[in-house]
Amino acid sequence: MKYVEEFRSQDLALKLARTIKRECDPDRQYNLMEFCGGHTHAIFRFGVQDLLPENLRFVHGPGCPVCVLPIGRIDNAIHLATEHGVILCTYGDMMRVPASGRKSLLKVKAEGGDVRMVYSTLDALKIARENPHREVVFFAIGFETTTPPTAVAIKQAQAEGLKNFSVFCNHVLTPAAIQNILESPEVREMGPVTIDGFFGPSHVSSIIGSRPYEFFSEEFQKPVVIAGFEPLDVMQSALMLIRQINEGRHEVENEYTRVVSREGNLKAQALVAEVMELRQSFEWRGLGLVPYSALQINSAYETFDAEKRFEIPAIQASDVKGCECPRILRGVKKPTDCQLFGTVCTPENPMGSCMVSSEGACAAYWSYGRFRH
């Protein structure tokens, strides 16, 4: 496929690896956080780490929307299906995420709940059209990439007068989470994690552009390189970060120029701004309450807000005992540091969210790298 294969050339990968090795200062450590689960997956799937020097470490960040959603919000979604009897539509990734009481949306469906996996928000609208006498709720999760399709669906529902459609909005924001990681005293207390530079997300940045990262490259004096998802993109971006670190620079650079601009996708940004507004605070698994880190549906579109239409209580739910997901999400522990990893927690029988989602760090370690450590 065009724009895929040529970014996976083994020959070029080996040459890039040699350049990286040559430019890495052997007397220092390079801790580079890939915020986004897509990068984590690419690093493991293509064995990128194996090509790079020992003193270059990838720190896996919290950029997996399935992983960072607190259990209480999944419990809320389950209640919508079981207590309110709605047709609950969601992306496939959410189906197996463990909720309280060892439930999951998949189990609820098996027990007769009307939970439907959709590929697109357009499918959820179709279900609402086909079931005019049922309430249809789209359980929306995801970062800035996945938010505009939700906004389009809400606008479309309004245009069509689809009164039985609403959205349980759990969309979250990348820059707020990165800032939280950099500012969090807990991160400093919980482990010796110093992050020397960031890989900026590929597709989130295609929407928000590279401009939002300029604040914290300046404020926290850390280099950021927006990186594509293919293995050569990751390697080239690592090289760009190493060069910035070696030269004492902290700039936002963009490796993924074939898709990402400084301004981002203005049409998508405008759609989101029309339908949604900032939440004052939102809970992230692993990070806790993060101010202004998520979106909610604004008052102009509140008839499509499931949180206005149904009673949705705040639920404090705790992780499975021994599960290290919260620390893994912050980059202070590795999946292999968790006593559940690979013993009772596997992708077939996940205990924590990082094992469920294919973008989660635990799933990546299990699938590609578990013998390495």
Partner: protein, 92 residues
């Protein structure tokens, strides 16, 4: 090799985090939808989030929507940058 494993196998096609470059095959301006080709696979997607898309453009597809156009010029420049980084000794 993909194994059919939930985290790595064909299920990834349904993964909400995945976004892939696909070629636009046809456009329906009335519905703002397009048919794109992902290798051998054809798929109908929405153009609601992009502007000025033409047939044969490559767009990044995510959860049934085109997110952005892929710039062929910038893709060439990036490949050239890889080649340069892999070949040339730096002076510093």
């Amino acid at each position: 090799m993909d194994s059919g494993h939930p985290a790595t196998g064909p299920d990834r096609a349904l993964n909400m985090c995945l976004a892939l470059p696909a070629r636009v095959v046809s456009i329906d301006e009335r519905t703002d939808m397009a048919v794109v080709a992902l290798g051998e696979i054809k798929k109908e997607i929405s153009l609601a989030l992009v502007e000025d898309v033409q047939i044969d453009d490559f767009v990044l597809i995510h959860v049934g929507y085109a997110l952005n156009k892929v710039s062929p010029e910038e893709a060439e420049l990036t490949l050239a940058m890889f080649a340069e980084a892999g070949l040339v000794e730096r002076d510093s």
